[in-house]
């Protein structure tokens, strides 16, 4: 079975057993945890492309949620192997949250675990986070980075309100902002004045490293 097809089957298994087998089999073969995640990530990208295809949508919301939950399972299973092989010094602090109106947690959680594995200190504000909570979080924790996530197209515009609030409270110059999630595009990120955009958790970690000069 081809890699992507196998990754897709593992990611779309609602019981989560196949993704566990997928990871364990590869670890036994001596593959690096990071490479296993990259392989699964290619599966996630395929699902994302199928979801975004306007002419023929192959994947639905439920597929995104289940594949996200399985990615989270994989990251948790691989976490001990990731941290062992990655750099351990502190890269910086990031404040994360899924914006108001959106209760999706999985993508952000995967991002959070990968960030921690790469040496970031993560303050996770959770889901359905309003602009006031983001501002309070920046004031209290003094992070270098703020990460906002949205899965729903109807909630992504709230990111702009958070950006405006950061400006209004005089905090915009103190933090770099990265946005991501299924509902967000690079163009949207530019439009609202974010410093970086990431299409998935793996790319998000790379962008965060760039933002802190790592």
């Amino acid at each position: 079975m081809s890699g992507v097809k196998e990754a897709l089957e593992a990611l779309l298994d609602f019981k989560g057993k196949k993704v566990k087998d997928f990871c364990l089999r590869r670890l036994e073969r001596g593959e690096r945890a990071y490479d296993i995640l990259q392989e699964l990530n290619r599966g996630l990208e395929e699902i994302g492309r199928g979801y975004e295809n306007k002419e023929f949508r192959r994947y639905f919301d439920s597929d995104l949620i289940v594949s996200g939950a399985n990615m989270k399972r994989a990251v948790e299973l691989l976490r001990p192997h990731l941290s062992g092989g990655e750099r351990r010094e502190k890269r910086g602090k990031i404040l994360l949250g899924t914006v108001k109106g959106d209760v999706h947690d999985i993508g952000k959680t995967v991002f959070s675990i990968l960030l921690q594995s790469s040496g970031f200190e993560v303050v996770d504000l959770g889901v359905n986070v309003d602009k006031e909570a983001f501002v309070r979080g920046v004031r209290e924790h003094e992070p270098q980075l703020v990460g906002m996530s949205a899965l729903l197209t109807s909630t992504a515009p709230y990111m702009e309100e958070v950006m405006d609030e950061l400006v209004k409270e005089g905090m915009r110059e103190k933090v770099r902002v990265i946005v991501g999630g299924r509902a967000v595009t690079e163009e949207f990120a530019r439009k609202i004045g974010a410093d970086a955009y990431a299409r998935d958790a793996v790319e998000g970690v790379k962008k965060c490293l760039e933002l802190v000069g790592g």
Partner: protein
Amino acid sequence: MLYRGPFGEQMVNNMVLRGLGPHTAGTFELKPEILEEEHPGEKDLWSRLWEEPSRYLPKRLPPVKCDLLLVLGLHSKLGDLIPPLAERMGARSVLYPIDDRQHLPEGKKTIQEELERKGVHVEFPEPFCALEGSEDPLIREFSLHFGRPRFRVKREGGRIRAVEVLRDTPCGSAHAVAEKMVGVSCEDPKALKEKLFFEHHNEENENYCLAEMDPLAPYMQEAGDLLVDAFFEACGFPTTRDLILQEAKQGRVDFERLKRKLVEEEKRCETERTIRRSLRELGLEA
């Protein structure tokens, strides 16, 4: 049962394990990729399927016969296959729930007419867990076991001591929620509602609601409201219908007002669809 994807699989798995197993003639995952494999390189496959669906019945479909055909989470492009498939299987009734805009068949009206022409009864509950009885005897029998959730709750000293699921949701979230509610305080209805709603779509549970949750198509939120109301009824707390009737007694049945009060201010309901449904069920629809 014809299904597609993890949501369909979760429903099949739950219903088979919770009593439908011995009554199941067969299960088959019907997805667009199967037709693409069976008709490689065929141009305009989906328009051709729409024009002549009986030519595109999947070759690997097991030759089973059934009375009731369940269509779970099928891709909207494949809906036109259902009338000829139902005929081939000898189905007398079809249950075709819609839990996501992508499940809604492009030719729903045509499919309905085609099935009726073949003497097959069809229903499209939205969401599936809103199903509560039917004029059709097969669907009525099915809905005694799966559909709109129903609970029996035993309380003791301000806490929930036991929860029995009298009717499960097809996806199994009612059982998953019931397990999580034992030992929870039931003194504060607001906190109880929040816990119920959270557990309903909690991805950590064995089964959880996977219906679409976009605010533009809030099937998940409506399903959550149905579950909260069922649990509240079992606890003796006022349901959405009770709250609307209270307003009605004071001559204040107005959709916009109810929406503002129950959805926006009190957050008793997650979506206005629940208000519309309750008004419809109470015969108070504007």
